[in-house]
């Protein structure tokens, strides 16, 4: 690869208009509180910042540390500091590729490191915080990280040119070496590190044109693949520190309940049990190892005060949402035009369940609290929030809280919360030894901060040609944003995330009214971000309903959508691409086989998914095939793009088929993978991903596949068996063909068998 270091005026940072346009997509609306509160927020910078010296010192004072992301040692080692966390989405590889593209090294020459908590150095400009979420990492960092690489490369070239007394523009950079082709001289980065480190920051640098990319756009192997394939990656749960004990916890199963008392006599008798610790609403048993702690917990007799939510049920919560939809005032998210008096009215009620995250790595935190320091080892999406929480609990100043972020065994939004970390600090400050606290899977499900339930009334008025002349959506549910980041709520009290992908659709809809009726859950029942956030919920409702409209109008769902996309060529192209690849209407399908389309524009990307299913006479759904057409702008790593879409679709299909959290006596009923099911390999279809070539800026990816999955499934099920699903998860009994078939389903379930398809 080759770089010229001449100054160019064409290179400018993201201009304000672009930024304003960008921020109107996905959860980033929620995160950009700087924009709503009018206060400036910290953001990462390609150049050296005031707190960089301390950060570089903590990294062993490398001679060359031109910004917060690049450290080059005299021996030539190139370390890249990752501003966001790796939880499977492949961002460590994407970040490395963005930095390396401009820096002039190969991925095999770098070593990646987790960043420390530091808002000034590592806050994503797209989010306004050091937060990994909302499918914003690539979108937010694409510009600044390439610039960071270019700053470093410019300095290294300048150092070499000064030494050789040549014009910097006659030097080239590749594979971690600066060369002067004219004279054949070469110097590796390590030999230049010290002198480059003494140079002033360049005012302006030139970034490559996308057509010149040598790394970006290639399916490079993930930087974390080798260790993860050998079992060598250290996740939070694998942390071992000297003198450490292992604990497990149980918090009151009832929302908002309290601990009354504990009889620990049987627990204390178990070999290896060290301590029994208490909080207001939870208890921990500490052991020499997890098994002792777990045995100790099982032997504990705990008395809870369930509190005010003791009678809470799913039906009660659902009823309250229905009441709110009928009676409560709404906040208007978007209103254009008027609802016509005449026309065919179509309306439907959609109901979505609460859901748990269930990442494969159960929540865990290792903490060591001493008189003047609190050290934390955890994989978290919100490191600075964890530090703030720990500072409050321990009374120590934030600089005395040392947090070591770790590889994350799945986040899906659960690790955007700091509750488990704060709980761990509360326990750990009661003891003199470091303690690793591991939640059991049962605790992970029952103490999840669940995806909210929704109750949406959606309607349309169709003109004589069957096209919607009016579209209305009355979304009812509780806000996540209102708790998680209240200052990001709109001036009128609107939760922007909650209406995402409903307030704006890809379609040409002349008259629209989208409203939100806020109905929060009772105190103690916390709701949180779940992969795909607002779009996952709204795309199911809107895209299922578009299918209903097509069928009401007597039109093919593909043709119906095509007619509404004539002003949206980007979306239309994807629809056509997916239809072509699956062979839509090319051949007759077998009985009880159907295909469903879903189209959406979540997280700054554009996606169309077509799912093909077979529904047995007994109502069992078999996924046969899935075809995705995707336009995510520039694909940093095509292999990662495909993986994120495949995985995201599976996550979304898994949830639509199986995931529903229910409440009885104020507590979550599910507890582990046997009653909170996940899709398994034998149920997974082939998933083909077709990504259009684009030179547009990158869109989000991590949540796109999940957000588009459920409506394609629901529409396919309708096509297969004529049953419209307006509730999730899929209920087999609703899809069964006849009373006789239904009887067999019930018998099979009673015997714990899965009905064969």
């Amino acid at each position: 690869m080759m770089h010229k270091t001449s100054l160019a005026a064409s290179q400018t940072p993201i201009d304000i208009d672009r930024r304003n346009a960008l921020k109107l997509t996905g959860l980033s609306i929620a995160f950009l509180w700087g924009a709503t509160s009018g206060t400036a927020h910290a953001a990462m910078n390609a150049r050296r910042q005031s707190s960089d010296a301390a950060a570089a010192a903590a990294d062993g004072n490398p001679p060359f540390a031109p910004n917060a992301f690049i450290r080059i040692d005299s021996n030539g080692a190139v370390r890249l500091v990752m501003p966001t966390v790796e939880m499977g989405q492949g961002i460590y590889t994407g970040i490395s590729m963005m930095l390396a593209e401009e820096l002039g090294v190969d991925l095999g020459q770098i070593k990646v490191e987790h960043s420390p908590p530091n808002e000034q150095l590592y806050a994503n400009p797209y989010i306004g915080g050091q937060i990994t979420g909302g499918s914003t990492s690539t979108r937010g960092q694409y510009q600044v990280l390439r610039e960071a690489g270019a700053v470093a490369r410019t300095l290294l070239v300048t150092a070499a040119a000064e030494r050789w007394h040549v014009d910097p523009s006659t030097c080239t950079v590749a594979h971690g070496v600066v060369s002067h082709p004219g004279s054949g001289r070469k110097l590796p980065f390590g030999a230049l590190a010290k002198s480059a480190g003494a140079l002033p920051m360049p005012a302006k640098v030139t970034l490559k044109e996308p057509k010149d990319f040598a790394i970006i756009g290639k399916p490079l192997r993930r930087v974390d693949s080798l260790d993860k394939t050998r079992g060598a990656t250290q996740y939070g749960i694998d942390v071992r520190v000297p003198g450490m004990k292992v604990a497990t916890v149980k918090a009151c199963p009832t929302f908002g309940g309290r601990l009354v008392g504990v009889d620990e006599r049987r627990t204390r008798a178990i070999p290896g049990v060290i301590d029994v610790l208490r909080l207001e609403n939870a208890v921990a048993v500490v052991g020499e190892h997890f098994w002792a702690a777990k045995q100790g917990m099982d032997a504990l007799e705990i008395l809870w005060d369930p509190g005010e939510n003791a009678g809470l049920t799913t039906a009660g919560l659902r009823g309250a949402l229905a009441d709110a939809l009928r009676n409560d005032k709404s906040i208007v998210a978007r209103e254009e035009g008027k609802r016509p008096a005449d026309g065919k009215v179509i309306e439907a009620l959609y109901q979505l369940p609460m859901m748990a995250h269930a990442p494969m790595e159960p929540l865990n935190t290792t903490v060591a609290v001493t008189a003047d320091k609190c050290e934390i080892w955890v994989g978290t999406q919100v490191p600075t929030r964890c530090v703030a929480g720990a500072a409050k609990i321990t009374g120590l100043p934030p600089e005395k809280i040392v947090l070591h972020n770790q590889y994350i065994g799945g986040g899906f939004g659960r690790r955007l919360e700091s509750d488990s970390v704060e709980q761990a600090v509360r326990f750990a400050k009661q003891v003199k030894y470091p303690v690793k606290i591991i939640w059991t899977r049962e605790e992970d499900i029952r103490q999840d901060i669940v995806r909210p339930m929704y109750h949406d009334h959606i309607s349309a008025v169709l003109g004589t040609d069957g096209r919607p002349v009016w579209f209305g959506d009355r979304i009812t549910g509780g806000t996540v944003l209102g708790r998680w980041l209240p200052m990001a709520m709109g001036k009128n009290g609107l939760d922007g995330d909650l209406v995402e992908c409903a307030a704006k659709t890809p379609y040409d809809l002349p008259n629209v009214k989208v409203e939100w009726i806020r109905h929060d859950m009772p105190d103690g029942l916390l709701v949180g971000w779940w992969r795909g956030v607002g779009p996952t919920h709204n795309l199911f409702v809107v895209e299922s309903f578009m299918d209903e409209l097509a069928h009401s109008a007597g039109k093919d769902p593909l043709e119906y959508r095509r007619a509404l996309l004539q002003k949206n060529p980007r979306a239309l192209a994807l629809l056509d691409l997916a239809a072509e690849k699956i062979g839509w209407n090319k051949a007759a399908l077998a009985p009880r086989v159907g295909r469903g389309i879903a189209l959406g524009e979540p997280f700054g990307s554009h996606v169309c998914l077509i799912v093909e299913v077979e529904v047995s006479a007994q109502g069992e759904v078999r996924l046969r095939r899935a075809v995705v057409a995707l336009d995510c702008g520039i694909a940093i790593n095509p292999s990662s793009v495909e993986a994120q879409i495949q995985g995201g679709v599976i996550f979304g299909l898994s949830a639509a088929l199986y995931s529903g959290i229910t409440v009885k006596k104020g507590a979550i009923e599910q507890s582990n993978f046997h009653d909170y099911r996940s899709l398994r390999i034998n149920e997974t279809p082939q998933i083909e991903v077709y990504c259009v070539q684009s030179s547009q800026p990158p869109g989000g990816l991590g949540e796109v596949g999940t957000a588009i999955a459920a409506p394609a499934l629901g529409n396919a099920i309708f096509a297969a068996c004529g049953v419209r699903l307006r509730t999730l998860p899929v209920e087999t009994r609703l899809l069964a063909q006849s009373a006789e078939a239904l009887k067999q389903v019930v018998e099979n379930q009673a015997e714990g068998r899965r009905t064969p398809v």
């Binding site: 991925l107 079992g231 098994w291 899906f412 993986a643 495949q646 899709l679 034998n682």
Partner: protein, 164 residues
Amino acid sequence: MIVLRVNGDEHSVDVPADMPLLWVLRDVIGLTGTKFGCGIAQCGACTVHLDGQAVRSCVLPVSAVGEKAITTIEAVGNSASGQKIQKAWLDVDVVQCGYCQSGQIMSAAALLTRVPNPSDADIDAAMSGNICRCGTYVRIRAAIKQAATGKAEILQTIAPEGAA
């Protein structure tokens, strides 16, 4: 004292007889590649080999291991099947968060030893006990076939220079 043969080494451990092998490996011996996911043999993250057979170590009392040789993810690459599976895993970049992948690889390596050229049905039967929440199943299936045949099934990743 219980004597365990783990990855070719003998370990004498002073633990309760009913302690699951998983926690002996992780918390006593210090081999953390084997993962805790559910504790009730539902997810397969804890899969190890006993004399080459895949077992769920989270529900296997350590006293039941006896003389059998334990192999974990840290050493599965020493076997022909394990090596092929790990190579295929890298060639198609199966991993995402990676947490379940130790278990996936152990199940896949055991399958390949037993069935050198597994069909889709063989893969379903051997791998359906291993949950992946990231949804890497499409690539797992391709990687197993690729490990068996040596032929590229799907998009191959570009390895860094000098990598295996």
